[in-house]
């Protein structure tokens, strides 16, 4: 019923909640008893969330359905309105009022030391916070795309590996039957040898022009929201709409890379490599502060001869989703349980015992929980996520420079183009730096 109170009361209450956070955790993470980050099957995982806006809340609700396996104890956000809603949600589920709230992820991680953390933040924060959590040996469910730049991604991958944590990427399509089935048919050659892949991602959005500067709302810590990104005055754009501004995101192209490019890689055996040549063009807004490409169309060539075209859906014959083209036909998958093929018989094919059986999960959040307990890899490991977003980030560099980019997927370097190489990272604003892994 908190939502019936006035906005002012709401802000006050939220502030009080933040102040009240400085109490010692009552639930001690299982991992504190010398079990490292692995949890005994009988124990509940102590979990918290960093970033409880739309996607963070969505993930939280999915985790709360697994109540017997985990216990939510704390949340962290730079917006006290987000915190109040998240705390209400958790307290309601826990039937108490114990959920602790934080405005600074550093304090959250230090004080809570949870077994696991679910993180859903604007992309420009991923590099620092994913790596910091991994360095603290906390298992991470992290939203895609896992990084804003290749450099951020490399740091995250190293942090996850070196600290041997369990990582699940929010690429939940892997845990949905039609995507799994499509990828399994593709990788077992049911459309023949794969030659060409088309990946359709959403068209770009309408702009908002150039809004004037506004007072920062009381509930928002704007300085912390910006973090490592260059300081800009507040114009009423923060939550959700960060994805239309290049400082924080690459637009739909990078936002969705962790879905349909990831699936494309899964079915084509490209999960652990990258393209060798990338070229393409974008359509950029003429006016306004939303500056990500509204349309995009780029082609990636792989060392094994496969070509992958990534474009906004309206440019492609089959629109959204992933289409594998082999020398015997094609196979298409998309959301809404869509799976279709050049010959419907392909869809009835049985995968034999001696063929490739892709990792199977029916619930993405459950899969993470299971793996935290078992210590086994998840269905969407960190390096695979890094390879999926790399495709889009390299496409972005090709579009920004107007050049064909040569990429060494082994060394993870751009070949012979120092200016394009600069775009592999974004300098951080002082005092923020990527953690040392």
């Amino acid at each position: 019923m908190a939502h019936k109170s006035s906005r002012r009361d709401f802000v006050k209450r939220s502030a009080a909640l933040v102040a009240g956070a400085f109490v010692l955790p009552q639930i001690i993470p299982s991992s504190a008893f010398g079990m490292g980050r692995r949890i005994a099957p009988s124990d509940r995982i102590v979990i918290g969330s960093i970033g409880v806006g739309s996607q963070g809340m969505s993930n939280m609700r999915d985790f709360l359905r697994l109540k017997d396996a985990l216990q939510f104890v704390a949340v962290c956000d730079v917006d006290t309105h987000h915190l109040a809603v998240a705390k209400d949600t958790i307290d309601l589920a826990n039937k108490n009022s114990d959920c602790r709230i934080y405005g600074d992820y550093r304090e959250f991680l230090e004080k809570e030391k949870p077994d696991a953390v679910s993180i859903a933040l604007p992309d420009h924060w991923h590099g620092i916070i994913y790596s910091t959590a991994a360095n603290k040996k906390i298992n991470v469910y992290g939203e895609k795309p896992i990084c804003r730049t290749i450099k951020d991604g490399q740091t995250i991958v190293n942090a996850v590996k070196r600290n041997n944590i369990i990582w699940q990427t929010g690429s939940w399509q892997r845990s949905v039957a039609n995507f799994h089935r499509g990828a399994e048919l593709a990788i077992n050659g049911r459309v023949g040898k794969i030659k060409y892949i088309e990946v359709g991602l959403p068209d770009g959005n309408r702009g908002i022009g150039t809004p004037p500067v506004k007072p920062v709302p009381a509930e928002l810590n704007w300085e912390m929201w910006l973090g490592p990104a260059l300081k800009v005055p507040y114009r009423g754009v923060s939550h959700w709409d960060w994805r239309w501004i290049l400082d924080y995101s690459g637009g739909q192209m990078t936002d969705w890379a962790g879905h349909h490019i990831d699936i494309a890689n899964w079915g084509a055996g490209l999960e652990h490599t990258g393209p060798v040549e990338i070229s393409g063009a974008g359509v950029y807004p003429v006016e306004g502060i939303f500056n990500v490409p509204v349309e995009y169309d780029f082609l990636c060539k792989y060392a094994n001869g496969i070509e992958m075209r990534v474009a906004n859906a309206s440019r492609l014959p089959l629109g959204m989703g992933t289409t594998w083209h082999g020398d015997l036909g094609w196979l298409h998958v998309d959301r809404g349980d869509i799976i279709s093929a050049s010959d419907p018989k392909i869809l009835n094919e049985v995968i034999g015992d001696n063929e490739i059986h892709l990792y199977k999960s029916e619930n993405h959040w459950q899969n993470f929980v299971d793996c935290v307990k078992s210590g086994k890899p998840t269905i969407a490991p960190v390096e695979v996520a890094y390879r999926a977003i790399s495709v889009a980030l390299l496409g972005e560099i090709a579009m920004t420079t107007g050049q064909t980019i040569k990429w060494d997927p082994e060394k993870e370097e751009i070949i012979g183009n120092p200016k394009a190489t600069r775009l592999l990272s974004r300098p951080y604003r002082q005092p923020w730096t990527l953690p040392i892994v």
């Binding site: 068209d203 003429v286 500056n291 509204v294 050049q403 600069r422």
Partner: protein
Amino acid sequence: MKKQYLLLIVVAGLLTFFSSCKNETVYKTLIITGQNNHNWKASSPVLKQILDETGLFSAEIMTTPDKGGDMKTFNPDFSKYKLVVIDYNGDSWSEKTNNAFVEYVKNGGGVVFYHAADNSFPSWKEYNEMTGLGGWGNRNQKDGPYVYYKNNILVTDTSVGNGGSHGKRREFLVRTRITDHPITRGLPVAWLHGTDELYSQLRGPAKNMQILATAFADSAAGGGTMRDEPMLMTITFGKGRIFHTTMGHADEGGGPSMHCVGFITTLQRGAEWAVTGDVTQKVPWDFPSAAGVVLRPDFKEMTLDEAFANIGNYEIPKSTKYLSCIQSHIRNLAGDETGILKIEKMMVKVLKNNETTVEAKKLLLRELSWMGSDYSVPAIKELVLNSELKDEAEFALSRLQK
């Protein structure tokens, strides 16, 4: 002295040579107007300006007699022109003129039908074959099918009903349906058009016609058909090529529909295709996208020099188009270091100018961070000392000095 004279003669000779070359590629164009249920006095000079702006066309406007006037006096010599633009919706021409126009097109003359031109001459068979689709003037099932897209499928609909309608004027999204036609090649697949009438329920013979672009006539603005209605079409008639744009409802001075870069560019490209069957014009940097409508106040494409003359005044609530223009030129150079250095020097000049706003300098520093060279470094180092620009200057140096 002698050398100087020689130089003058050579220069004069070259000028004559180039201007004569140019003359050969300028297509004489006739814009016919004089009667219309629309503001033809506003639209026809704009059409002329838009076409002349390309350097490809030299357009003249010819007006017919007023409504009820003696049409026998209207006898254009079509053979003098490569392109005829119809901005006319009024009394029938004389049979002689009609025949001359049909002969002109049959023999390969280019035509552009603009907006209400497809309302004209409902009973002139050949004219309707040339427009492909038309509306109003008691057009109905006897005149041919409705043609439109429904759920991305091209529909030829012979159902009974009147031809021609439109809802309230509004901005609308234009969708390219054929992306590899010379007119649409390189254009975005979707772009927002400036406030205009969305012509719907056109019907006609639709022979030898291709629909290049459509717009969805939603019901929100009233009168929506919930179909994707044809906006841009090409038709062939004999040896003639025809470009038909249903857009561009004119207000005084043109209005947003004609100031729209999407309208301007597709008209220019459609006109060239009608004359030659190909398009040599580049897609302008300011072509709109689904992100928003782009209007040109003076119908001209902003040049890089104009962008640099204005970028220094950028402040928070102001237009970002000058930066967009510079960025677009950098992308188009595709790594051509000589060209990029030239732009870099212009950027540094603005950066060093005391009149330049802090916000403009911030934009330029971000851009220089990746495409700049050692040339920029000293100027950027100075800005590190400026507390307002320190972060952006360090951002740039961190990349440039790697």
